[in-house]
Symmetry: C2
Subunit: 468 residues, 2 copies
């Protein structure tokens, strides 16, 4: 078979861009750093959204929508926040044919404008916790854009919550981080992640604690797949988000925020993609099974349509491909590129013997299956293929992660994988040294893998890696 | 009962804003003309989106996402388009800390940027029709903003399609207009609409034909609930969207676009709202039934929870309100404000006789119903209440629409309702005269109510009205 993509081993970044183009996932937009998400890519994002949204609602959070334009003065109210975001802002200076009295920032994130409204809506402790989320586009001017991973405009969800106590805020942020984000990535994307705490230097601008879920990409680099922040009382004080307590005193709230974005599309590609294209985890796949007419005639199209109907009735997301005027080979290559988990190839010869061919994207296997057994075979294959993708990604991460004792060894190991090293052997000075060599501390965890309460806890483990 | 809202008859615009505030549907944003859609309002919008999206997909259209920022030069390529939108544009001049070489327009609509990509994606007649839709925010600077109806930023869906022939483009636009838009408004929103053709003066900037669905609000003004446009080859020529035909010649495509927005939220309120608040059509309502504990004790909470479970199992969207610490009257007022179709009031006295009280929002009726009959009673009430809302709105429209023969009579009748008048008695000169008196031609229809193919057809009827 002719090579469709630059092989991963030859040039990983080019393989990534090739895959996105050939699978028709996205195009570059007309403005540098922006992207067009094409129907094949957007259908995957819609499945991500629907599943994530259900988990967010299950956590008791309500969706809302806040404005795109934020008065520049709002961003200035929290010192760390404005300092962190200023270099990335896009600014509207003219509207309605006139120059504006105050320039408007196109939201890079919505802590500030949501803080303003939390202050209006929260009155007493009975109004807390206030748990909000929005699905929206945000803009951060990127100097080195890369499709899905770093784009000037991206799509995301951003949760914003206000609580009466620090303990309640912390518990909420951890609940979302584990039961929404980590669970979604493992159960829906089949991507194993390491949850951990960001160092002070890697925190979100304005946060007192940033938690991350890190995944290893196919080139062993790390990708931050989502983050959850405790914001302490920083935004509550900047925006005067207060409540009257049961005892009658006026107190500042404790707020959190948490976000995941179309960046997950990039992670999905780089964790599961291979030299033939994307491999979609079955729970996520918009089309789980493509029933393909190899060659029309001899009842083939009818048999294929019947299979489609049976699979649909069994709850499988199935598409019939009966485009007999397009060469079968090209259709199969396209299905592989787009990562459709299962192809069922229906041809006259197989059919004569009562079989069809089941081709599984996860491992490239092809087997003849009696036509009467298809529904059972497909449903169990879809289940197994999710696990297979997850297990393979986890095994790959473990093979490429080493435990070391010193900063020097960690920086060296991070050239070709992830290094786990005692945080006490790194520290803030060591972190700077690593950064100078394009290695970052991805996160800190306890030895047993649980989430630290502070960077100062003894015996913390640091993950060092190159990253996107 | 104390009056909650300014009565509709006293001051309709103030009633509208009161309702939006008191029902917690939306707030004004910090930038003039922008809005914050609060959770109660956003849940309604999400239900609109989900149903509309399913209808759009059923029509064979795929979702995608195009960038927020459009190079200013794109808008200039189609002369009518730039002329129509220039006064409403918001412009980004600075980003990433620098002045941009070319200013970026925040999309007021996406014909131009989508045209650019259609040109890349369409090669042969086999690629047609190309049917795309996106859910997005758009920005049009508004001088006289009003929540949901005219906001500087609003949420919408915009369909954009390319076709090989004018006939195919026309058929598609009409199919969406009737089977997606009109059907959605009648079947989901319980809002009767008049589909018709816009006059030349009221067309979308760059269209060769604009079709509208017009609804009568509670003050007898008209609201354009959605529009579908035939764009001819205007954008195809401006963006070079061409295809090679089966015969091998290179031809320009014919394109369409169509959109509906959060403006429908305003229409919903003004069609169905009354002096007690919103009335939600049952199919749309995020919460169809609120089961309310009138007073805790004597097994009331348990009985209410059991009813909630039974209704949920029967597919009803139900919420249990057991906040015994909040006065029952206040909870009932809030449920009315928010338009929840049915309240089931569970109290100790009723329960002792085996009954609960079913209160229907549509007509304010209250009846005792044996607790064993609730599921059946609720499901048939929800069905009937949709019809009731639709029928009432239609009857109101008919009562307030008059047939007249002359322009003068039409303008006079339009002060207090809608006028139907022969288009030949109005014409472009008459339209300008009417506009001078704040009356517009809402649309043209044939005498039998079907959609005209041109403004020049004989015997067309014009609808004249004041409008939002």
């Amino acid at each position: 078979m002719a090579r469709v993509l630059t092989p991963r081993a030859e040039d990983f970044p080019r393989w990534y861009q090739d895959l996105i183009a050939k699978a028709q996932l996205a195009d570059n937009g007309p403005v540098r750093g922006t992207m067009v998400i094409r129907p094949v890519g957007y259908a995957i994002w819609e499945r991500m959204q629907a599943d994530m949204d259900a988990r967010i609602k299950e956590a008791g959070v309500q969706n809302a929508y806040f404005p795109l334009f934020i008065p520049e003065s709002y961003l200035r109210r929290e010192a760390d926040h404005v300092e962190g975001f200023s270099p990335e802002l896009a600014v509207v200076t003219h509207a309605g044919g006139k120059e504006l009295a105050e320039p408007l920032v196109v939201r890079p994130t919505s802590e500030t404008v949501i803080g303003e409204f939390m202050a209006k809506w929260v009155d007493s402790y009975r109004d807390l916790p206030l748990l909000l989320n929005q699905w929206a586009n945000v803009v951060r001017w990127e100097l080195r854009p890369r499709t899905f991973l770093r784009t000037t405009e991206f799509l995301w969800q951003e949760g914003h919550t206000a609580h009466a106590t620090e303990a309640d805020a912390r518990e909420h942020a951890r609940d979302v981080h584990k039961n929404v984000y980590q669970a979604f990535m493992e159960e829906m994307l089949a991507v194993p992640v390491v949850p951990g705490r960001k160092t002070k230097g890697e925190r979100f601008a304005g946060a007192t604690n940033t938690m991350t879920v890190e995944a290893m990409m196919g080139d062993t680099k790390a990708l931050q797949m989502g983050t959850s922040h405790e914001l302490g009382q920083n935004f509550a004080k900047a925006f005067d988000i207060t409540y009257s307590s049961a005892a009658g005193s006026v107190e500042h709230c404790w707020t959190t925020s948490w976000g995941t974005s179309t960046r997950m599309m990039g992670g999905l590609i780089m964790v599961h993609g291979d030299d033939n294209g994307l491999r979609l985890p079955p729970r996520l796949a918009p089309i789980q099974v493509q029933v393909m007419v190899v060659k029309a005639g001899e009842g083939v199209t009818e048999a294929a349509a019947k299979l489609r109907d049976e699979l649909k009735a069994a709850g499988v997301r199935v598409k019939l491909d009966d485009r007999a005027d397009v060469p079968f080979g090209r259709r199969a290559v396209d299905a592989e590129l787009q990562g459709i988990p299962i192809r069922i190839e229906v041809g006259p010869r197989d059919l004569a013997s009562g079989n069809v061919t089941v081709a599984r994207r996860v491992d490239g296997s092809k087997s003849p299956i009696p036509i009467g057994d298809i529904v059972g075979a497909v449903t169990s294959a879809l289940k197994a293929d999710h696990q297979r993708l997850y297990d393979d990604a986890l095994a790959f991460r473990e093979e490429n992660t080493v435990d070391v004792k010193t900063l020097g060894d960690a920086i060296e190991a991070a050239q070709t994988g992830w290094a786990r090293v005692p945080w006490s052997a790194v520290g803030e000075a060591g972190e700077k040294e690593a950064n100078g060599k394009a290695v970052t501390v991805r996160c800190l965890t306890r030895e047993d893998g649980t989430m630290p309460d502070s960077d100062e806890e003894p015996n913390l483990i640091a993950y060092l890696a190159r990253s996107y």
